[in-house]
Amino acid sequence: MKKMSVLLAATVLASAMASAAWSKTLVYCSEGSPEGFDPGIYTAGTTFDASSRTVYSRLVEFQHGKTEIEPGLAESWTVSDDGTVYTFKLRPGVKFQTTEFFTPSRDLNADDVVFSFERQLKADGPWAKYVAGVSYEYAAGMGFPELIKSVEKVDDLTVKFTLNHPEAPFLADLAMDFASVLSKEYADKLQADGKMEQMNQMPLGTGPYTFVAYQPDAVIRYKANETYFKGKEKIDDLVFAITPDASVRAQKLKAGECHIMPYPNAADIKDLQTDSNLKVLEQPGLNVSYLAYNTLQAPFDKAEVRKALNMAINKQAIVQAVFQGAGQVAKNPIPPTMWSYNDDIKDDVYNPDEAKKMLEKAGVKDLSMKIWAMPVSRPYMLNARRAAELMQADLAKVGVKVDIVTHEWAEYLKLSKDKARDGAAILGWTGDNGDPDNFLDTLLGCEAVGGNNRAQWCNKEFDDLVKKAKKTADVAERTKLYEQAQVVFKKEAPWATIDHSTEFVPMSAKVSGYVQDPVGVHRFDGVDIAE
């Protein structure tokens, strides 16, 4: 008998050890702490990586590695002829995650979808300000409160969105992080218990990974969602090791302390590429950086002057100096990975002599101007000060004197949108949803003057094309309109388009199935790791 129990104990121990050995853990050295875990109330990619892309799912999703849409929680949808009514059929049998803190009693249904959107739209609902200072910034920024007239439950598995006007990018918007679907049952329970703040601390959704624990500034732990509607992930445990310094992330990757890292230093990339235990994925980012002239002020109100200045700037040299080659010169305001990118457009050739002549012809002499350089490093522009200095030297060659101006970041964002801004400002943009509208209308449309339109440029021809495309559902038709809009943009040159940066994701050679995401988030569904 004693022997028997020893044997039994040994078997139990062995199987426990085997299961421990077989548990596959993927460690991701993330670049910072999430601000919280409710994707509705934040706008930062770091927060989305840790919340919406792991724990939650949406009605529709971006195809892995693309900006096209595929079914998510909705298995199908229809759009009314006038483009204002979207009806979604939900996938039946989708389970919410079971966690230590909550056990769901029912599957996903239309109530969850209605709740997830209404909390962001209705200013007087109980969830509108569930913790002091909560605001649904992304939904507001995308114009959802004005766009969406109603979100209604038709039956348990059917939801109807009615819009105030047709909006072609709406489907793409629904694949964005803030449109993640939460559990109404969980929300009701938290509300009843007076613990609403927990929604932002202990997330629960239908996504590929289940939240386990978060130690601020240190570690976030997830495990594979056993009931994930697309099937359980191959990784058993997903760990975010929060590592704010990029050099240290690279060292951790090399030491095998993590398997994937985002945002390497440009200077570290060569070293990581030559390490045989690692591989470095790269793709052009969905971004652009630009120098926006203030087109309301003379002489920058003349297209020929702007054009001449563009020709005086050696963009290739800037990309080389700032990105060490890890970027490409931009000729259009949208990145080349985006649909409707017009590759037929010819960039303004770098030609100081010609530029000088053009300036003389336009009657511009002894011009002195200001160039605003951002004080921070952003993915689309790592060092604006350096870029501004290079522009300063280039423009000096055509007789234009440049003073470089900078402000603290928040101040920079505020002052640069001023219509009376003195000087041209360097800034950039990273796409939200892969839709060209998100660049062309958001950054260059007439309504954005005094706001996101840093060039203060309102051109009727351009604006009409972009507005028309926004109301058209047909993608081929939209593509044509956006291509034409890019021609107008190039002719008018409200910006000097500078670059599209390349995004790198270094990882262990053991990792497979990781696909870079064009909208810049980091997804771990479909990822596997060799033992």
């Binding site: 910072g32 601000e35 002091a132 570690v219 090791a241 240290v248 302390e257 970041w409 101040e411 800034l427």
Partner: protein, 334 residues
């Protein structure tokens, strides 16, 4: 002694109010506001900006906000972070043990190495030992923390594989914090190897954070010892025929310790300052990194609350240092 203590405690109150005022106003003097930074490059409509500022109570006159804040602080409520929405006190409580653990290890490291080095350098004044200790101390004092940290990581973690690159403990250990001190929690967890992992993880950050205090303490000890060793009573002790070790260790060192203890007390501020960089390099989840992030995001409540708590701790440490003078040198008590 009691009067001394009460006197010192009474000074704390105006100091505390002064600190709260400074913390409150300085963060507001920085351009920009937390709401503007919430939306990044995307421009927020002015009406919406005003609405969110109103929701946060930031549109009220600053003195009203301050008085309101002070009223809450007196009741022990430091408010909630504007960014994470969690109570400031709770965040501080969960992060401070990490900073404290690291700072304590760093200061112990600095004292244990710094005092003997300073004493020997003083005794062996002018020899190669003295010269090299002071040379190393000067280098240590001038070493940029960021560079020094990365250098150690490349050497010990990636070349020799002796220590982990960063973090407080290997990710394979997972237990709920009890005290927040990883060395203690790892023992309490009962998981084999956890303590060793926590200990090894502490080595590099301790060296990096302890380097400047070590240099300061060694130099301070040396100069204080030199002064004391030239005093009459030391000569008397020597002429009595006392063993050199007793003369140096008992008679001289005890008197030389007063300025050294002062400088150790002052190192607390240096440690908290150095912790910001050390914590960033070693992904150490402490309050240094937390405060810097809060400044960048204009998280007013965190900056105010954090500064208040840190200032409170420094004041208490200084009080303890003052009390220790009395123990080391009874003359000061009177």
């Amino acid at each position: 002694m009691l009067r001394f203590l009460i006197g010192r405690l009474a000074i704390l109150i105006p100091t505390f109010i002064g600190v709260s005022l400074i913390a409150f106003s300085f963060i507001r003097l920085l351009p920009g506001d937390p709401v503007m930074l919430m939306s990044g490059e995307r421009v927020m409509a002015p009406e919406r900006h005003a609405q969110v500022m109103h929701d946060l109570g930031l549109d009220r006159p600053v003195y009203v906000q301050y008085l309101d804040y002070l009223g809450n602080v007196v009741q022990g409520d430091l408010g909630s972070s504007i960014v994470t929405k969690r109570p400031v006190l709770q965040e501080f409580g969960s992060l401070f043990p990490a900073t404290l653990e690291l700072s304590l290890c760093a200061i112990i490291f600095a004292i244990v190495l710094g005092i003997p080095a300073g004493v020997f350098a003083a005794v062996k004044r002018g020899t190669w030992f003295d010269q090299s200790v002071m040379g190393v101390a000067l280098v240590g004092y001038s070493m940029p923390i960021f560079w020094w940290g990365l250098l150690l990581i490349v050497l010990f973690s990636n070349t020799l594989h002796w220590t982990p690159v960063s973090g407080r403990i290997s990710l394979m250990y997972f237990f709920k914090p009890v005290t927040g001190f990883m060395l203690i929690d790892s023992l309490l967890s009962g998981q084999a190897g956890a303590f060793k992992s926590a200990f090894v993880s502490l080595i590099l950050p301790t060296i990096v954070l302890g380097t400047i205090p070590l240099a300061v303490i060694a130099r301070q000890t040396r100069s204080a010892m030199l002064e004391v060793l030239g005093e009459d009573y030391v000569r008397t002790a020597r002429s009595k025929g006392l063993a050199p070790i007793r003369v140096v260790g008992l008679h001289a060192l005890r008197n030389a310790m007063i300025p050294v203890v002062t400088s150790i007390g002052l190192q607390v501020g240096v440690l908290l300052g150095g912790a910001i960089l050390t914590e960033t390099i070693f992904s150490w989840p402490g309050i240094g990194k937390w405060m810097v992030d809060a400044v960048f995001k204009r998280d007013y409540t965190v900056v105010q609350g954090g500064l208040l708590l840190i200032a409170g701790i420094i004041m208490i440490v200084n009080l303890i240092v003052d009390l220790m003078y009395g123990l080391i040198n009874p003359r000061i008590r009177h």
